[in-house]
Point group: C2
Chain length 601, copies 2
């Protein structure tokens, strides 16, 4: 089937068989939902993706946004998409009832978001950005802000954004200089410049509401002096009408991919007339923003996994239909050529992609499940799920993003020369993918977050919970003889992880943060590979537990495919941790000791 971009069978397998959402929907918070209603929601999402988003996937790339007379013109369908998402309740679906939402479990909501992102990544981000911004206002804003802004944003009429980065403050957010000056009227006057603001302005929305990090005049230096503001493009007058708020788009960035979304540079307060409204308390902006950022990081992983999914299904379709070559033991050129999927090397490339895509999707839903479980658990369990989610967030952001580059690249490779051409969608997926290891915190930042913060927080509590989760699974898996070899591999991998982690934390004491974190990116890579192995074993266990006699042919193909992909991951990918562990243990901090002048010649 051409134009398949995601497997609904796989999503339902994960939701129902692996993560058993019916367990969630028995809790009172979620009890208006059930498997049947979730099925309907997933089908509605697929319909929206197929009918509205996917048809303009290519066009939004080929006709990118343009800055004209101060306004960002986007593809005409962007307005339709945003409104459709609003009117059908997609922006607020996971919010609590009192925030205008449906209390949809995040795991279902994020499965839907995967469908949207896989159908057209650029097209899917508008609603997602609004949802994140509204969530921040609902969580930390006062009633006035809620009343003034959230309804329009939820409806899809207004666009929400998050505005953090500045020209000289990207990874180093502590160095932002955008300044808010207090006024007697209660609002602040904002001055400064922000860059790389996704959907920072566009012709598809009546207004844009920026959630902006800035420093109030005289605030402490560094990250402790950062506050959060709501800054609309057009502010609301007393009579309810809108007037310009001195926010100007100074340029849009021309990018490798992700071209259907305008990434803007914004200037606030050039005429000293930009009103900004404080969210929550003074100087707490960064901690508030981190709520959104953590969601956004999961969102980035989700986008990456979804793009990789779309590329994989394009490659699979091509491999099933493209005839080229013959079996190696057939030397007769008179016999017809065979579909390239019959070549083991092509099968290997497809298995790689599938293992990345379905492994990453599983991890993202695992994280969503932890988020849901927090909402329905007692204090002790709440902390458990919170810690696990916190620990896994940099992994769920990074693994799909980094491996997605390789996976979409492999999709191109399956197409041969055609993959390099614009006639097929894979080159666009490859381009759309490349932003993900960068935005919402680069891989380097995620790595320091994982090793320098998450693994060691609370004396390693989250890390030990993580080991416990996996070891509990291994115990279950060991009941099935077929899974025993995988259990052994994973247990060995955990031992390696413990050993490396112990070595590094000792190093931290002995040699300080610089050497401790020098190879954090390798640690994150190792952690990611092990985490995905866990997710694959989890899927294999679910298959064993649900195995029935007399399954349909389609069903048994799906099951066999899953088990082969799981075995592929353990045989081809998991062994890669050894090289990483070797380097992480070898005590030669060359990237710290090397003088940067040695790059000169």
């Amino acid at each position: 089937m051409a134009d398949k971009f995601i497997s609904m069978r796989n999503l339902k397998f994960l939701l129902y068989d692996v993560f058993e959402i019916e367990e969630l929907t028995r809790a009172s918070y979620f009890n208006e939902h059930n498997r049947k209603s979730c099925d309907l929601i997933l089908d509605a999402a697929l319909k929206l993706g197929t009918k509205l988003l996917h048809p303009v996937f290519e066009e939004m790339d080929r006709i990118p946004p343009e800055l004209k007379d101060g306004t960002v013109k986007v593809h005409p369908k962007v307005g339709t998409i945003l409104k459709e998402f609003g009117e059908n309740g997609w922006i607020s679906a996971s919010f609590p009832y009192e925030g205008g939402g449906d209390q949809l479990p995040m795991i279902v909501y994020n499965a839907c978001n995967m469908i949207f992102s896989a159908s057209n990544y650029s097209g899917s981000i508008y609603a997602g950005l609004s949802a994140g911004s509204v969530n921040l206002i609902l969580s930390f804003g006062n009633q006035d802000l809620k009343t003034a802004f959230t309804e329009k944003m939820i409806s899809g009429k207004w666009q929400g954004t998050m505005a953090l980065t500045e020209p000289h403050a990207g990874s180093s957010l502590a160095d932002i200089t955008t300044t808010a000056f207090p006024t007697d009227a209660g609002h602040y006057l904002l001055q400064g410049q922000k860059i790389f603001i996704s959907a920072g302005d566009h012709s598809g929305a009546e207004n844009v509401v920026h959630l902006v990090l800035a420093k109030i005049e005289g605030a402490p230096k560094g990250s402790k002096g950062i506050s959060l503001f709501v800054v609309p493009k057009r502010r609301i007058k007393a009579n309810g009408s809108l007037e310009p708020n001195d926010v100007v788009v100074t340029q849009i960035f021309h990018k490798l991919g992700y071209r259907g979304a305008p990434i803007t540079e914004l200037s606030f307060g050039e005429k000293k007339d930009c009103h900004a409204y404080l969210v929550g308390e003074l100087h707490k902006g960064l901690s508030y923003m981190f709520q959104m950022m953590n969601e956004a990081r999961i969102g980035v992983g989700l986008g990456a996994a979804s793009i990789a999914s779309a590329a994989y299904y394009a490659a699979l379709d091509y491999a099933q239909n493209r005839l080229q070559g013959r079996k190696l033991d057939n030397k007769d050129p008179q016999t017809p050529q065979i579909p390239i999927i019959e070549h083991p090397d092509v099968k290997r490339m497809l298995l790689f992609q599938r293992s990345v895509v379905e492994g990453a999707i599983s991890l993202l839903l695992q994280c969503s499940r932890y988020e849901d479980m927090q909402k329905i658990s007692d204090e002790k369990d709440k902390e458990r799920y919170h810690l696990l989610l916190d620990l896994l967030t940099p992994v769920a952001k990074t693994f799909p993003s980094e491996m997605g580059i390789l996976s979409t690249s492999m999709a191109i490779q399956c197409f041969g020369g055609y993959g390099y051409c614009e006639d097929f969608p894979v080159e666009q997926h490859f381009r759309d993918m490349r932003i993900h290891p960068i935005h919402e915190g680069t891989t380097g930042i995620q790595a320091m977050d994982l090793l320098g913060r998450k693994v060691i927080m609370k004396n390693g509590k989250a890390f030990f919970l993580y080991l416990e989760e996996i070891r509990n699974l291994i115990k279950q898996a060991a009941l099935f003889p077929a899974l025993q070899p995988l259990c052994d591999c994973l247990e060995n991998a955990l031992k390696t992880l413990e050993q490396v982690t112990g070595h590094l934390t000792a190093l931290a004491m002995e040699k300080g943060a610089e050497i401790f974190l020098a190879d954090a990116a390798l640690y994150l890579e190792m952690f990611g590979i092990i985490t995905i192995s866990w997710q694959w074993l989890l899927q294999a266990v679910a298959i064993q537990q649900n195995s029935r006699e007399n399954t349909s042919r389609a069903e048994s193909q799906f099951i066999e495919g899953k088990l082969f992909t799981c075995r592929y991951y353990f045989a081809y990918e998991l062994p890669k941790i050894e090289a990483l562990a070797k380097r992480l243990m070898d005590n030669d901090p060359m990237t710290v000791s090397m003088d940067s002048l040695f790059f000169e010649d």
Copy 2:
């Protein structure tokens, strides 16, 4: 220094200190050249790259070729470039004197080609394609063909191409259907279609001369029935003027990158009036073409290494100048931000790129040296160098191409968000790179060539020579205590390689070709990593052998940088062979046994 795209210091280090070309130029074949003349040639190449090619690097991408009224309009500078290359003798530089060349050693010629490719990959390919085509005519064509075509091609007035691929015959060349019908007049009439023909037509050349694979009517099926033809776009009339030869450009491909060069679809003989001239003997076309193809494969590796070089220097420049963040032990936000090169993670990303770039360049020059040595050796040594070159060709093609994707991706990562934008050149390098694992034989094809043909040919003779080369080096290296740990690592790697190779060749006997070659791509990857480790140790030995007291500061920075990069490669990259070896030895041919229906769901 901005706009640096290659290190001349490194090229000269490799040419003079590592590969000691003065040893070559003592041989009578090369004795009109010497170190001084080579320096002049390299400087001339740098000047051409800097003044002519590099200024239009971006523009040739932004204003890609267009098919208009049957003609391919290219950037106006393409004609200038091709003529400049012709007039200054670059197209024929490595040819023998009797072919109109200068007998320049390939190692110097290819060092120049790296300068050109790094300055502007698309711009550099026109002359290279002509050189390859002329070489084929000189090697296998009769005097009439030589007289008619080579002079104009060497002068840069006419473009040469190689036309192999057809819509349904890419990797499977045996399946081409383009047909040549004999005529009484001596020429053939050609009919058929070719795709993905680089520079297959363009406004910068007066004529285009295609070297075309086709089957003579009634020829044997499969690859044994393939002949080689010269097919000009415009044929030469008796009076010396040109007339159309029924060759039509039916489309140009719109591509991810490599946009400065038109990749065309050609239709031959739509009016049954396309004259084709047989090169050499009937049915020997494929073996002739392989001469060009082997050169072209080295050329692809060279292009990839060069693009990675340009991306690396862009990233290095940015990392040296971009201020962001502070040392981890400095918590004071009042202190100024530091250049990002001071962060260990950034240094690691730069070391990765440098190790790939300089490792790959070294390997490519090693191959060029073998080519040169063939020309000046007695029969026994000639065979030795021939076998080594043959064995290493798939590695020299693939390692730079595959690792170049990661290396240019890492360059983007060094830039953060800016790397994703068109304002900087790295996104173009990333796009230009992606074709290399595909054209001139995909990585899958190279892998089967290495394991299924080269390693086992002549009972493993080439493979044993390869081991001998490396072990000879290890012996030399062991004289320097500082290199002892690297010697041990490399010796262990060779043992692993021997073990895996033994295992696989036994498997071939026992289980047949399909299982033997199922993971050939992993074998090639492992082979590549070990080969590059060899090249790094070779460089380290050259440094030790040439070490002097009282070197200049610049010189000692270069030396220290080389040694750190060598250590980086051994510590971070070489250990990756273990995972590959583990998989190659594990006896579970899952990509052979998996039914392709298991990808359905």
